[in-house]
Symmetry: C2
Subunit: 241 residues, 2 copies
Amino acid sequence: MPAAALIIGNELLTGKIEDKNLIFLAKELYAVGLELTRAIFCGDEVEQIARDLRALRETHEVVFTSGGVGPTHDDKTLEGVAAAFGVPLRRDPHLAELIREHFKERTTEAHLRMADIPEGATLLSGGEVVWPVVALDGVYVLPGVPEIFRLKLRVVIDQLKRGQPFVTRSLYTLCDEGTIAALLSPLEERFVGVRVGSYPSFRDPVYKVKITFDGQDPALVEAALAALIGALPADLLVRSE
Amino acid sequence: MPAAALIIGNELLTGKIEDKNLIFLAKELYAVGLELTRAIFCGDEVEQIARDLRALRETHEVVFTSGGVGPTHDDKTLEGVAAAFGVPLRRDPHLAELIREHFKERTTEAHLRMADIPEGATLLSGGEVVWPVVALDGVYVLPGVPEIFRLKLRVVIDQLKRGQPFVTRSLYTLCDEGTIAALLSPLEERFVGVRVGSYPSFRDPVYKVKITFDGQDPALVEAALAALIGALPADLLVRSE
């Protein structure tokens, strides 16, 4: 069940704010056996958001959005989700009530716009989350503020069907990437379902290349690691973990 | 002249490594008046890289890639660029010579694969960069390692036609986003070319909402800032910068 992310906000593309949600999402999904295979950063534009969501949903069962859910003119995500599915926005009475309870006599029409959700959307609640998560046909709308993104992501993950968790083993070596390359290529063919990654370090005094083995079958991951260890001269091995 | 980024690597989507290049690229481009309007993270797959590059080049004059340029099986970027433009890879004699000079008698065929570049590509040199940047029709191939990404990006930026630099002014306020929203919406219409952003802070003790004004005409940006300051009660203003 591959997942994708649509990270929304001009401020991320102009470098004013550094996104912190993609890496968090990637780690959390991987830990529960859901794999993120694509992420797009786009600006605050309804039509662009809609196009991206439509395209992502064609290839991914689950899409998480980040950002663009506040009350100001640059918050376009809910409009974008509605446009992606060709449905209108409708003011949700429960969300509107939550907003009125929170802002009391300071409540404005701009605040209430946050209760305008795509027709057919559902609301997910749970955990420490005060505001429910808006969800529509596999699209989960999360806010850009990292603290709230994290709380709301937890609510979604708790309700998704998980996969078999991924297992990662790593081997730190003193090999040069160019030398070890010929040994790595056949490993993915021999251990189908294990993904082999190679990451050189130019600054670490202890190792030169870290080789990673990822998969959902722990025994197979272990076997791939053992095969590479067996194929390397002992004096080039630093450690495995 | 809008720019886009294609950030390549399974390790970024599984959360093993946090990308540091997108935020750097965004800031650098913005500072020289080139705007990044889209970024895609994809895995190490030739066809996916090719599809993304083709689509990005339809809408963006300049595309920067990050990652996937080493000698191992998971380094697919040059193959992806070649596939995007429908050209074969050819071993570049100058790059092959650089590789042989560097690795000397330890040179392997895997190392030399790094000299296999798309037919028609050019090599950009300059600055502190030892390995030239591979460029083809507006696509600039940069490595994932942040230190080298930065050096090579400098080479490219020095050779690109720059735009008028963007100017940013910010106003820190004690307003609530829902209250200030109605004042912000008309500003972009009144000051065409100025983009107005609104960013709430939930933790900062000093301000509640930061309003940003971005544009390439400093006087217009200043005027938009002044218009908002004039429209707000003085006791809600914290500072501008």
